[in-house]
């Protein structure tokens, strides 16, 4: 098998890095879909991208640079993603307006800021393409180790608090009556999403992160008979899409991210058609 796990294999880090990001986003994405947070799934990755663009504009680095540039990218992505989340949570405490309005505003600002910082950056268009596609091929051993650590921490917290997250997502008022504060547990979910999105955007770009926050969850919810099964199906779809997508993009000489997304989208469409046909039969 598993030559690609060998440290000698040229694309090992790209395949493993992409797989970790896709699986992480797919599992958390089940809640993004169930809780109708899809707009948040677009806005936060875009905020992360804006943070990366700002850092590179300010420091003169580019997204494809190795070493220190990746640490800077992660810092920018984390800072911008959590700043956007902070604005949403803090404004939500006092505002009576629907949260979608604020998310829409953040998305518009983040998109414009990304374009502006990239336009002002010395590397310009090249930087834009690199930012949107992610830099899977540039993942170093250190980046991969960092990604694995963050993903493991997110997975552990998610598994430990799976019951609380389900309770407050399904019926927040009932959760309150049995002593589970929905605001606190929503915050935990947002922190997990923020961390996954920040590191995902740095690694695979905002398009892949958004797509995997939504597409595997949409397909898995059609197939899953329980929450556990739904998470497992979402992770399986993400695995097939990312590992299969990498092989396909390598052989066809195509950018990896869009191929990942098209495979995941193909699975979602196929599952939707099959389930509709089964229901009609």
């Amino acid at each position: 098998m598993i030559d690609f796990l060998s440290s000698d294999f040229l694309f090992r880090n790209a395949i493993l890095g992409g797989w970790i990001v896709c699986v992480l986003c797919a599992v958390l994405g089940v809640y993004v879909v169930l809780r109708r947070l899809v707009l948040l799934g677009v806005a936060l990755p875009q905020a992360g991208a804006a943070g990366i663009a700002l850092v590179f504009f300010a420091t003169g680095h580019s997204h494809g640079d190795p070493g220190q540039a990746h640490a800077l990218a992660l810092g920018g992505s984390l800072a911008a993603t959590f700043a956007a989340l902070g604005v949403l949570v803090l404004a939500g405490r006092t505002s009576t307006q629907p949260v979608e309005w604020r998310i829409g505003g953040i998305l518009a600002i983040a998109m414009a800021a990304t374009l502006l910082f990239v336009a002002l950056s010395p590397t310009g268009d090249l930087e834009m393409t690199s930012l949107l596609r992610g830099e899977l091929l540039a993942i170093s051993d250190r980046d991969l180790a960092l990604l694995a650590c963050v993903a493991s921490a997110i997975a552990v917290v998610f598994a430990l608090f799976r019951r609380e997250l389900l309770l407050v997502s399904f019926d927040p008022e009932f959760a309150r009556t049995i002593g589970r504060d929905p605001m606190r547990w929503d915050l935990v979910l947002y922190l997990l999403l923020g961390a996954a999105i920040s590191i995902g955007v740095m690694t695979a770009g905002p398009m892949v992160v958004f797509a995997f926050l939504v597409l595997p969850g949409l397909a898995a919810l059609r197939l899953g008979r329980s929450m556990g099964m739904t998470f497992a199906v979402a992770a399986a779809i993400a695995t097939v899409s990312s590992v299969g997508g990498f092989a396909l993009s390598y052989h066809a000489d195509l950018p990896a991210g869009p191929v990942y997304v098209m495979i995941a989208a193909g699975i979602w469409v196929a599952v939707s058609i099959a389930m509709r046909a089964l229901r009609g039969a």
Partner: protein, 217 residues
């Protein structure tokens, strides 16, 4: 207050900028089945949310018995049926309040949920997906979930809205049995005055920013 599970004394209830009910005094007593009646917008839900402790009293006092457990049954339309949960999964949620996060769901918790389903006559369809159940069946599952919390007070928000007459009668009978067999205090918001007549001990009528209690309608 001697035996009351919840006592409200001369309390203004509602929201800081908008008090909804004025000078409310009432007691939620064990083993009593009470229907909360009133027109839309009269303040029934405000009363329920105050009993639940979601809305603190703006004036006056609301006292709860120490260690009080309240089983809450929300309107079932507020729940999203896209969640891939069976009726049994939903009932099991009622045991989560007693489970520390590091523990697996114990066999004791599972049997608590099963007993609650049985008490509501919901065992036979509990393995089916919640989304595929009828309105009356879903309601029984939600009552079972509230029972699985092992409450001494059961608060229900329009549990018979949108269900057929047979299901409504079955739900009301099940609630009456629970009140009798377990000594539960059952307070239920409803619009169906005719259906509850003869089944409840008291009616709490909500109108004109006040709550009036009528004995044995």
């Amino acid at each position: 207050m001697a035996e009351a599970r919840i006592a409200i004394e001369n309390a203004d209830l509602g929201y800081p900028a908008r008090p909804v009910l004025r000078a409310v005094s009432l007691a939620v007593r064990p083993g009593e089945f009470v229907a909360v009646l009133g027109a839309n917008g009269s303040g029934k839900t405000t009363l329920l949310r105050s009993l639940l402790g979601f809305l603190p009293a703006l004036a006056g006092r609301v006292e709860r018995a120490p260690g009080l457990r309240i089983g809450y049954v929300p309107q079932r339309e507020t729940l999203d049926d896209r969640y891939p949960l069976s009726g049994e999964d939903v009932a099991l949620l009622g045991t989560y309040g007693d489970l520390p996060f590091w523990r697996r769901v114990s066999s004791r918790a599972r049997s608590r949920a099963r007993l609650a389903l049985e008490a509501c006559g919901a065992r036979e369809f509990a393995r089916r997906r919640y989304a595929q159940l009828s309105g009356g069946q879903r309601q029984r599952i939600l009552i079972a979930r509230a029972l699985a919390t092992e409450p001494s007070v059961l608060l229900l928000d329009e549990p018979t809205a949108g269900v057929d007459q047979a299901s409504e009668a079955a739900i009301l009978d099940a609630l009456a049995d629970l009140r009798r067999d377990r000594g539960l205090a059952v307070w239920m918001v409803t619009h169906h005055e005719e259906a509850v007549r003869g089944r409840v001990d008291r009616v709490a009528r909500v109108a004109d920013a006040a709550v009036t209690l009528e004995e044995r309608p």
